[in-house]
């Protein structure tokens, strides 16, 4: 384990920046946001960024390919290019876990080469949470905010940042900062972990459990009468899906630029009324079906296809951002609650 004094963070960022494009969470008018580090950007004290870091691997929009159309002829132009090495500093435990969930979608056969390219070149420097919020429930999904995963795992104490490499990519990054960091024992980090664990246990949502959900529970919950009440106020907007670190649905669309066609991919939301609309009909007719799809996917369908792994990491973004304050916590309590009586 290595450490560096907090007042030398700039030196650390500068050293990382030499070999990687570095992104850190910084404060903006509308909350924290990952920004490219140029030298002036300060590390945010906020618990987490408003948008999740999934953009780094699965951006909101990306060009997939170009087409040149001339008369009856079409030329397909592969616009993919090798991505440069980059490092994302300050990723929280929940968001680190979200990459695992996205990996299982995008890296399963057939591999999504756009995602894989960025994933291979990205180094995750995680940061343990010191002040989890009232909206946090990562422990519900077995995530330990005190000990995140990641290529390099960091703990921030009062005066220093402790860093430990956990992967080959992490080792490589750490070797680039070996000059400015010093060896440290784990005492301070252990004390920090203990503090965080105590705090986690006191969170208002500490008791939330996902045990009622998971692999093979489709028939148990699909026709639950509670969906009607849960979804009645849903506006059908995409806020929850767009701030969610694990929502990965996308749309593929063409844009005619006037001198060619760009086929791009962009985030889509199962909450949108046209998501499944076909010329032949609409399998998810009302907001109830769309709403149910989102939560069933996170709590039942995804675990069914992925060895019981839930596709929610308890980051609390939807809890904070939903315009009508309906969220997965309320859904779980309502559905899980009624089952237990």
């Amino acid at each position: 384990m290595r450490k560096i004094s907090l007042d030398r963070l700039d030196a650390l960022f500068a050293a990382i920046s030499k070999a990687y494009t570095l992104y850190i969470p910084t404060d903006t008018k509308a909350g924290a946001k990952f920004e490219k580090w140029h030298g002036e950007e300060r590390l945010s004290d906020a618990l987490n960024t408003v948008r999740s870091p999934k953009d780094f691997f699965f951006p909101q929009t990306e060009n997939l390919m170009d087409f040149k159309v001339e008369g009856k002829n079409i030329e397909v132009i592969d616009t993919r290019s090798e991505c440069g090495d980059f490092a994302v500093f300050g990723v929280r435990a929940c968001d680190v876990k979200s990459f695992d969930i996205l990996d299982r979608v995008f890296l399963s056969d057939p591999v999504d080469s756009y995602y894989k390219n960025r994933r291979e070149h990205g180094v995750i420097i995680s940061l343990a949470c010191t002040k989890p919020a009232e909206t946090c429930f990562c422990h519900t999904f077995g995530i330990d905010a005190a000990s995140p995963e990641g290529d390099v795992v960091c703990h921030k104490t009062e005066d220093a940042l402790y860093m430990e490499a956990r992967s080959e990519k992490g080792e490589k990054l750490m070797s680039a900062v070996s000059d400015i960091t010093e060896d440290a024992d784990s005492a301070a980090v252990d004390a920090q972990k203990k503090l965080i664990e105590d705090r986690l246990a006191k969170l208002p949502l500490a008791e939330l459990s996902a045990d009622a959900f998971g692999d093979g529970k489709t028939s148990e919950f699909f026709n639950a009468p509670e969906w009607s009440e849960l979804s009645e106020a849903c506006l059908g907007c995409g806020t929850c899906t767009f701030v969610c670190p694990t929502c990965q649905c996308y749309d593929i669309k063409d844009f005619n630029t006037g001198h060619g066609v760009k086929r791009f991919r962009c985030w889509d939301s199962c909450m949108y009324s046209d998501f499944t609309k076909m010329s032949a009909g609409q399998p998810r007719l009302t907001q109830l079906e769309r709403f149910r799809q989102r939560f069933m996917h996170k709590l039942v369908y995804y675990p069914t296809n992925n060895d019981g792994l839930f596709s929610c990491v308890g980051c609390g973004r939807c809890v904070a951002k939903c315009p009508i304050h309906m969220n997965i916590v309320k859904v779980m309590k309502k559905l899980g609650g009624s089952k237990n009586g």
């Binding site: 844009f255 630029t257 006037g258 001198h259 760009k262």
Partner: protein, 144 residues
């Protein structure tokens, strides 16, 4: 004369009954106006949806002008009055967003005003040329 002198692309939405005929008259009378004015004929100036204007900018226009019958002379009685209100509000909004106000204009041109049409286009093109390329409402994907 410079070889690659900047020439703005102007989109002119012209009402079928007055301004389009005015443009025709300008042509018949061999009156010069900039060749980079692309005329789109519309049944009435009030057919011009604000989105048409934005899309013209998206697709590379540097200036957008809407020409209709003089107020009171609308072929459909009142279409151009609505145009006037909508465009007053839209242009004011574009200005509010920091889009150069000289890039948009409404001009009333009758079927008899071929000379006015040519002069208006010349003047508008010059004003837009002095602003340079449209950067504030551009869509980078549409750039060559």
């Amino acid at each position: 004369m410079q070889v690659n002198e900047y020439k703005p692309l102007i989109v002119a939405f012209c009402c079928n009954w007055c301004s389009y005929a005015g443009a025709d008259l300008a042509g018949n009378n061999r009156l010069n106006y900039p060749a980079d004015v692309k005329i789109i004929r519309v049944p009435c100036s009030c057919r011009v949806n604000p989105m048409f204007i934005l899309r013209a900018f998206q697709r590379g226009a540097d200036g957008v002008i809407i020409c209709g019958c003089h107020p009171g002379d609308c072929h459909y009685t009142s279409g151009n009055y609505y145009t006037r209100r909508r465009m007053a509000l839209l242009f004011s909004m574009l200005d509010y967003l920091g889009i150069e106000r000289e890039r948009t204009r409404v001009e009333w041109v009758s079927a008899a005003e071929g000379a006015k049409f040519a002069a208006t286009m010349k003047d508008f093109a010059e004003k837009v040329a002095s602003l340079g390329e449209n950067k504030r409402l551009e869509d980078l994907r549409c750039k060559k």
